[in-house]
Subunit: 349 residues, 4 copies
């Protein structure tokens, strides 16, 4: 099918890579031409992921820039942080389009990257080229871009829940608290005691309190929307389920607004966007209502007693929080409808 | 889109109905024109299923034969047993194609229906028209049929796991034991203490031991394949997960056959079928490897010590065990490729 | 065993009642003499709870004040709200000790009860007698009391997490935000679609946002500790697990304090208390670490960037959040060691 | 407390070890004097198991025979297979009582051990001393014994479900099929992809089909009861829950017996035994009904159509399947009541 865009996926044996495969396999304009893994090249991907039997029968490729450039037009990087810092420049120099799902090119401030990721930052020359692809907010920079830095899972849910208020500056920007909860797939396929079944099943954990590397990413986006330096309190929890993120967000209003006015603001802000659904007042989305889909669903409640607003924002961390948004970015980059290949109904129940 | 086949779904507010909606919404040749519920007609379906917000905004219709006939070409019945007995004849008489997901027209023996379902059986005249749509085995009766009786979830997994051996008569037909395990969605959306979260979470239950109404359905199909009356032992269990069925099947061989010969038999029997995947010897499929998809995956092991064969057969009970096979039947009925609209990759993890 | 205190449990067929049974059966000083259920009197309790087979073989009694007074010295009420309002006065008048696990006598402000519970409040004469039994904070009123109002599950975790800071007034009392998460058993055994397995499994829900009836209970206790009227923001979530509550609490400090000073405050505040465990700095308790036990485990983190403190407080909602604390109250009431019959190690994993 | 029996636990940082700790901490006649781990000696056990904070504050000891002999009277080995083969002889020679929870001394046939465990077998001289401690069946050899080999989890559930029929020889001994299902804690705390949360949650797996090392252990016990060499078909599955084992057992009767006669046989066989509960006809136990307790609950159903009997036997794999039965063996060994320290009510829900 010579008319299709040829895609390579680096990091195909991680959960992000395998979700990209699921989504791209039914994308009408894309053909997967190479699935790449540095660790297990040379064996069929279905050996490690039997659900792909008879669906994707190719062997995994190793990382070879020339080979990738020969086989693909666009490369998705679903790699642990640190890998893209070296790899993306080479792929870009080879003329490839790159969509990086890792955190390596999200922070424009290299010192912040170094502080939160404990890793040397990317080359500023390439950092400059990276478009932060939170489609609903900064999507107008995406068409025609060569290099997309795909947002993190927690930031996607959190920033979409805050954006209308930050952009309008209806809130005290010092008051932002984000209590975020994630399904366990967010921790990836790498083994660890924390996500060993018998440890995390029937358990609820807070982790990296005040230290999660997604904190500066959220702050960078909210600061940009509000046009003012913003610092947030951000806590992450692991919930015993596979998929789903919920950010419960607390902000103080800095002006008198009714719940209805705030709801109207959200509705108009996201009007016409395929993947953000604002719930009716009094309704709050559950994570299961977006499972397997690219939606971000939002509900809100204003407490008249405290003047504080509570916002509930949910996504599937593997889709809108990773692979789905990456495909959405590809669509926008290529000038296709943003929902091409993503018009999935959530899998319910 | 006048070129599309117009589909109505009766029982749209059950899990089977809502899964049909998910599958049909992305089917290229079908358009959903009516979602029907006798109990909650007149309200938007998304009121009860918020995951459908902005996807399916129609109000639910009531059951009205004339209205259905005006709006639809094909009707799916995802109703509790007993409903279709009266409804299907009327829909058929109105000239509609009918695909019945309930058990009402599966058993050709009306006495068996009455005994196992504790309900008066269907009119034999209509029973005769019903084609039992286990696509991989009896699919050649489906093209052009007006009325399909879609197989049950447990029977689909169990019969597909037994079919090659029954058809070849390599086994002692008196020795068949099926130990079946199902995710909780199989119990439907109706409330009951058994499937109350705190009762069934972290629990494993055997239920309806030797009394499950799917027993005669399995026996009817195996008898037909083996051309001999067969009785089976069949036990059902509830497993604390939402989707998935596994049938672990035990049979005694009635002749000397190697494990490899048996594997070859399965491979050749299902060769060319899109939705049955036979695992390599030594590998057994997990239910998660088919979640969200229409696959039936099969593994097997011959115990040289006992001469007994163990077969593991898994499906997603909501897809191959219900809505997916119904769509597959529609495809075959209409002369379309059987995987039209069903080429989903399983959702993993 | 005539030397033992005789206990009756009203509401024995709810989860709170059945957990009281589990704890009291191994209490060295207590004998269960009547298990009472208004709805299913006359049948063995093990009919509805087979785990009690051969353990508790008595039939359920109905509610009969004279009979209770003849059989028991102390009555536990594990009833839905509204029941105790009428029942407790009668039991108290009959000279019985009463430990009420429901919310009916927790709020001293009858208008607040009416507003949040949507039910007529208790008789002020009896309300006055009710001692709010949050043992670690107000336990000195318990010895010799006749009537204990046992705290709610969310309030127990939340108030214990806030108490040292509220009592010392180190925090801005207007800044308190409690993001609480509960296992599903907290919703009780009554059937509802929200806690139907297939709906809440692999799901995370916010509910009763800004409207949960435990809000004024928390405010009453914090106000009492801080000696000032306090209003809090309180959000509740359902997590797909059976047991456990986590309150993640956010407060702004109103003075400069180091993380170590705050940790020292917590450690000294709870020194000598059997059931509160303060984690080392940098460690946060998971709910599973207290499952089946009466512990409340607390961790904390001060964010130097925002001056905001995050506190993580976990309990087993069925034990410290209900039946365990009720037994602890009985122990204190009777002058026994508070951990009598409660020295369980958490069930892990 | 010099009157208490002093116990050491080798393998304290595995799930079996930590469950022994939970049970022994409330045992009235036993004192834990040493918790031992070869891998993490020298650190507090609560570092790896925070639920033990303030409960067990000792540091872990290394393996040192002299030190163990000085500190303890009885040693529990909760070690991976292979360890006890060398360690138990040394402990026995040092005069200690030993209760070995591993599989090393369960099989009297050393060739079978080597075949199924792929490891050199134990010294026959010590193997001879090992009493196989399935308390309800072979408990009369336990009093006064020095060395107990504690049964495996699957064998305990399976053998107890079969014993009355095997001992009476009412069944065709060639017909035994055991379809066993286990919670994930049975796989231990060691990391592996199979029990990584996102892989096994919402999944159901068959594993080691016809190759599980518990097969010969079951066969040995059934052969002993029936006084005839027996071979069984045995399949194991992993179920997405933490605790619990269910063995669903299929046998053909070799004589005409009514369901009631069989039920009577089971009832009389286990009469007076504290930890086996036979359910009424028509009722089947769920695993949750024994969680946290030492019970084995059994239900059965005879299918008149096939003459085949189905038996459902459940235990908590960590208790009756490991630590609980070990304590029960200690009780019997010491001449104490078998339920001393084990009279727990199951944790429900």
């Amino acid at each position: 099918m010579s008319m299709k865009l040829r895609a390579a996926i680096v990091g195909s044996t991680g959960y992000g890579g395998v979700e990209l495969i699921r989504l791209l396999l039914t994308h009408p304009n894309v053909e997967i031409t190479s699935v790449i893994s540095s660790s297990t090249a040379g064996v069929p991907i279905a050996d490690g992921y039997p659900h792909l039997n008879q669906i994707l029968t190719e062997n995994l490729d190793g990382i070879d820039i020339e080979q990738i450039a020969a086989k693909a037009d666009v490369v998705f990087l679903a790699t642990p942080h640190g890998v893209s810092i070296d790899l993306s420049p080479k792929l870009l120099d080879a003329g490839l389009k790159v969509i990086d799902l890792s955190g390596d090119f999200r922070l424009k401030d290299t010192a912040a990257y170094e502080q939160w990721y404990k890793h040397k930052p990317a080359d500023p020359a390439y950092l400059e080229k990276a478009v932060y692809g939170l489609c609903e907010l900064f999507g107008d920079e995406v068409p025609g871009a060569q290099f997309i830095s795909n947002p993190g899972c927690y930031p996607t849910a959190s920033i979409l829940g805050l954006a209308p208020l930050a952009a309008k500056r209806w809130i005290d920007l010092k008051s932002i608290i984000i209590d975020a909860k994630s399904g366990v797939s967010g921790a990836g396929r790498g083994l660890s005691q924390t996500v060993h079944y018998a440890e995390i099943n029937e358990n609820l954990l807070a982790y990296k309190v005040n230290r999660h590397q997604h904190t500066p990413e959220i702050e960078q986006a909210i600061s940009r929307l509000a046009d003012e330096e913003v610092t947030v309190t951000f806590t992450t929890h692991l919930v015993p389920m596979t998929r789903g993120i919920m950010s419960t967000i607390y902000v103080n209003l800095n002006q008198t607004r009714s719940e209805q006015e705030i709801h109207d603001l959200f509705s108009s802000y996201y009007e016409g966007r395929a993947f953000v659904r604002v719930r009716k007042l009094g309704k709050y989305p559950g994570t299961k209502e977006v499972t397997g889909s690219n939606y971000c669903d939002i509900g809100l409640s204003l407490d008249a007693r405290t003047g504080r607003l509570t916002i509930v924002s949910v996504i599937d961390n593997m889709v809108k929080g990773a692979a789905g948004q990456a495909v959405q970015n590809l669509n926008i980059m290529m000038g296709w409808d943003e929902s091409t290949g993503l018009a999935f109904t959530p899998v319910y129940p």
